[in-house]
């Protein structure tokens, strides 16, 4: 790059004009500045001199105070807007991620619900009830629809959800094969039942594909992490607001103090008005922000936590229901029923602990009694299976419409947890949505207030400047 520098040059007297330099045609090429190395262009010096004059003396000082006041007010516009928007967006993110978490949990719930219906129907040796078949279809349809919905809602989850969707296609194919062979009393049906189970629950360890549930669990963990991150981001907004208060109010107060010292006039109405506007917006903003955050924190500590426990309890309950049917299937065919029964015990224990937390947090029964009733029925059927397998299988496949049956007692648990789930899901959504509207209004109000305060501040300084003319 070529750089032209100006050499030292004698001061140019006022009124001096640059000589016209002839062009190639001999005619003057017009007035232009000849840059000579080491010399400064006179206009720069003129501008600097003018600038120095502008900020010299009392008027200059007043102008500096005016600029400081305007900048302080613009901080209110920009940083205030940022602070309110940041909290609103963080709460919106928390709400969106919580919604995604609920969606993914519901996918997992629908899958284990479908599996519990399939395995229970399998016990009926091909005479699966129409209610069971319809329930299975509905659960699969719901899971499939939610997978698409969740992928659209969170594109970053789409890839993992596509893999779950692939797994669902394979799972339903194995279930269809198991059912078809079971109808013919072909023992290969247990092979397909085992395949379906691995496609659902395979932990991806040695020799296993990663099943749909572990993949969904990863997504749940990710979503929960994003909710936490959004809460952290939300708290950052508090610091932004504090910065705005310090700079805007501090700046305006400092300007007024220095103005009073310089002019010996203690009240400048426009500046005071600016300060009041700033204080008003920031004060109201702080209250709204704190209120929104408190509400969001409450949601997280209450509804959100309860929701997580209810959702996990439901997933564990359905898993235990599948394990119950598989235990009975294997008691009849010679599979690993002990492992299945162990799974039942582990899942019901986990469900019970989760529901205990729910009961403590929501001060309601939350399905614990129903869980205990179902466990008692389960134990009775298992005891019967030891002496009379066929009667036990019959008892285990009785229609859920009979409240005294094994399936009936599980249906009661389903109903109790379903009510709790819906109530708390709605509560989380409402709680995280509540503060967002006022915060967005405040963010635009901060811009407007900042601009009005800036104009008012300059007007206040201009009053004093006028007195010096």
């Amino acid at each position: 790059m070529t750089q032209l520098t100006t050499p030292p040059r004698a001061p140019v007297p006022s009124g001096y004009r640059h000589p016209a330099v002839p062009g190639p045609s001999g005619q003057p090429a017009g007035p232009f500045e000849i840059l000579v190395p080491g010399r400064r262009p006179p206009a720069v010096s003129q501008r600097r001199a003018a600038l120095r004059t502008t900020f010299e003396g009392t008027p200059g000082h007043l102008r500096l105070l005016g600029i400081t006041a305007v900048l302080s007010c613009l901080v209110l516009s920009l940083v205030g807007f940022g602070a309110f928007t940041a909290r609103a967006n963080a709460l919106a993110s928390a709400r969106a991620d919580a919604a995604q978490l609920i969606r993914v949990q519901e996918i997992a719930t629908q899958l284990v619900a479908a599996d519990s219906l399939f395995t229970n129907g399998y016990l009926a040796d091909g005479f699966e009830s129409a209610t069971n078949l319809a329930g299975y279809d509905e659960a699969i349809r719901e899971a499939s629809s939610l997978i698409a919905e969740a992928a659209a809602a969170k594109p970053s989850d789409a890839r993992a959800l596509a893999a779950v969707n692939d797994g669902l296609t394979e799972y339903t194919a194995r279930v269809a094969s198991a059912r078809a062979n079971n109808v013919h009393a072909y023992q290969v049906s247990t092979g397909y039942l085992r395949q379906a189970n691995v496609l659902l629950r395979g932990d991806g360890g040695t020799g296993q594909v990663k099943g749909m549930l572990p993949a969904l669990q990863t997504l749940m963990t990710d979503s929960a992490g994003r909710v936490d991150a959004a809460y952290d981001d939300s708290r950052l907004a508090t610091w932004l607001l504090l910065f705005t208060v310090l700079v805007t109010v501090g700046g305006l107060v400092t300007v007024q103090v220095r103005l009073a010292r310089r002019t010996h006039r203690y009240l400048n109405v426009p500046l005071v008005a600016s300060t009041v506007i700033a204080l008003l917006v920031l004060g109201v903003g702080a209250v709204v922000m704190m209120s929104a955050q408190t509400q969001a924190d409450d949601v997280r500590d209450t509804s959100y936590r309860v929701l997580q426990n209810v959702a996990r309890a439901r997933i564990e309950a359905y898993t235990a229901k599948s394990a119950e049917s598989i235990t009975l299937i294997y008691l009849g065919t010679g599979g690993g029923h002990a492992a299945a029964q162990k799974q039942f015990q582990e899942s019901t224990r986990e469900a019970s602990e989760r529901l205990r937390d729910v009961a403590a947090a929501s001060r309601g029964p939350a399905g614990r009694a129903e869980l205990a009733a179902w466990q008692a029925k389960h134990a009775a059927v298992l005891k019967l299976a030891a002496s009379d397998y066929r009667s036990a299988a019959k008892e285990a496949t009785k229609n859920a419409s009979d409240p005294a049956s094994l399936n009936g007692s599980f249906a009661a648990l389903e109903k109790a947890t379903d009510i709790a789930l819906e109530a708390h899901a709605a509560s989380v959504d409402r709680g995280l949505l509540a503060g967002r509207g006022p915060l967005l209004v405040l963010s635009w109000l901060a811009i407007l207030a900042g601009l009005v305060a800036a104009v008012s501040s300059w007007a206040g300084i201009a009053q004093r400047l006028e007195e010096y003319r």
Partner: protein, 363 residues
């Protein structure tokens, strides 16, 4: 078919876990046993790929060759695996078992507890079309035993569906302790099982009641007549993990062994086209062929196994009792009827195996 002589190479294959399967998650294949607690139903995969571990197969083959050449196995397996204890010189009349014997305890109890399979078609399986009742060749033989003990089998047999892994533990435990009196579950007599002092790994055996050959199940439209006909693309052969059938595949280097947790898993993989063939005892393969009209059992026997009733350790008198029952025309008539009902269509004509009673009593 001889019941006393068998190829030495086949004998040496016993107990060799010759194939190490490497499962590539996300493709196809089968899984190792011992999966995590969440793995309720086992480790079979929807999409898996199992490849043989060449080194392990080579090691198994080398071990097998060396043992065969030295005649080590023949000397270790004496008496031969199919040899049982001599039968009682005279079988007591039903209900008259000598006091103090297991047969007398069973008589006093009023029923015989038999460990059986619930999903091995034609041998022991629940028939969902018959209210889930157990039926098969092994089931009928167990009833024949009950008839000898009680004079009738009606309400005198309690079947307990057990897994392959439970069979020795439960029979050694005994029915009065929550186990079973006897196991009729296509149990192969092997030297290791005779000798093992571990109650989970071995037991005593009656005389063999059936000889089953290890063969191949393939699709009937492929023109495959033996394992040698398998070619690239049709070279994946399934067998249960830890089975002698899987070990036997090590002899055929062009075959890619695929391990499944149980036999039914192999049939599911075969129906899905993920393996070209299944290897195993032809009595079991006949049960598979009965579930799929495209299946045919082919090939010359790669190995021979001897099915016998498993009886708890310390119950030599009951082994002798059972062997005496098996000598009776009534039992052999029941055998013939059961064979004709369940296995003849798939395996052709076979006769009751000649017994080998050359195992000396310990007392």
């Amino acid at each position: 078919m001889s019941v006393t002589g068998r190829p030495p190479t086949a004998t040496t294959a016993r107990g060799l876990v010759a194939v190490l399967v490497t499962v590539l998650a996300g493709t196809t294949g089968c899984a190792a046993a011992g999966a995590g607690p969440r793995d309720v139903l086992g480790a079979m995969q929807g999409r898996q790929q199992v490849e043989e571990a060449a080194a392990s197969v080579a090691a198994a083959k080398a071990s097998r060759s060396a043992a065969t050449a030295s005649g080590k196995v023949a000397s270790e397996c004496s008496p031969s695996q199919e040899a049982s204890f001599p039968p009682l010189s005279s079988l007591p009349a039903p209900g008259k078992a000598p006091a103090g014997t297991l047969a007398a305890k069973i008589t006093a109890r009023g029923y015989l507890v038999v460990g059986v399979s619930g999903d091995t078609r034609l041998l022991g399986a629940r028939n969902a079309r018959k209210s889930g009742q157990l039926e098969g060749f092994d089931i009928e033989l167990a009833k024949a035993l009950a008839r000898a003990i009680f004079g009738t089998s009606d309400n005198r047999v309690r079947f307990k569906v057990i897994t392959a892994g439970e069979r020795f533990a439960l029979v050694n435990k005994g029915a009065d302790a929550g186990g079973v009196d006897i196991v009729a579950r296509a149990v192969s007599m092997t030297c290791e099982r005779w000798k093992s002092s571990n109650p989970v790994e071995g037991a005593l055996f009656s005389a063999g009641y059936f000889t089953s050959d290890q063969r191949l199940l393939v699709r009937n439209d492929l023109g495959v007549k033996s394992i040698q006909d398998l070619k690239p693309g049709l070279d994946r052969v399934c067998a249960p993990i830890g089975s002698t059938s899987l070990a036997e595949l090590a002899e055929h280097k062009f075959v890619k062994p695929v391990a499944a947790e149980i036999h039914s898993d192999c049939l599911a993989l075969w129906q899905e086209g993920r393996v070209a063939a299944i290897t195993g005892d032809d009595a079991i393969l006949a049960g598979f062929a009965d579930q799929d009209p495209r299946a045919v059992v082919v090939g010359t026997p790669m190995d021979t196994t001897y099915y016998a009733f498993a009886i708890g350790r310390g119950q030599e008198d009951f082994v002798q009792y059972v062997n005496a029952v098996m000598e009776t025309p009534a039992f052999q008539s029941s055998w013939a009827a059961a064979y004709a009902t369940y296995l003849k269509a798939g395996l052709g004509e076979r006769s009751f195996p000649a017994p080998n009673y050359s195992r000396p009593l310990s007392r």
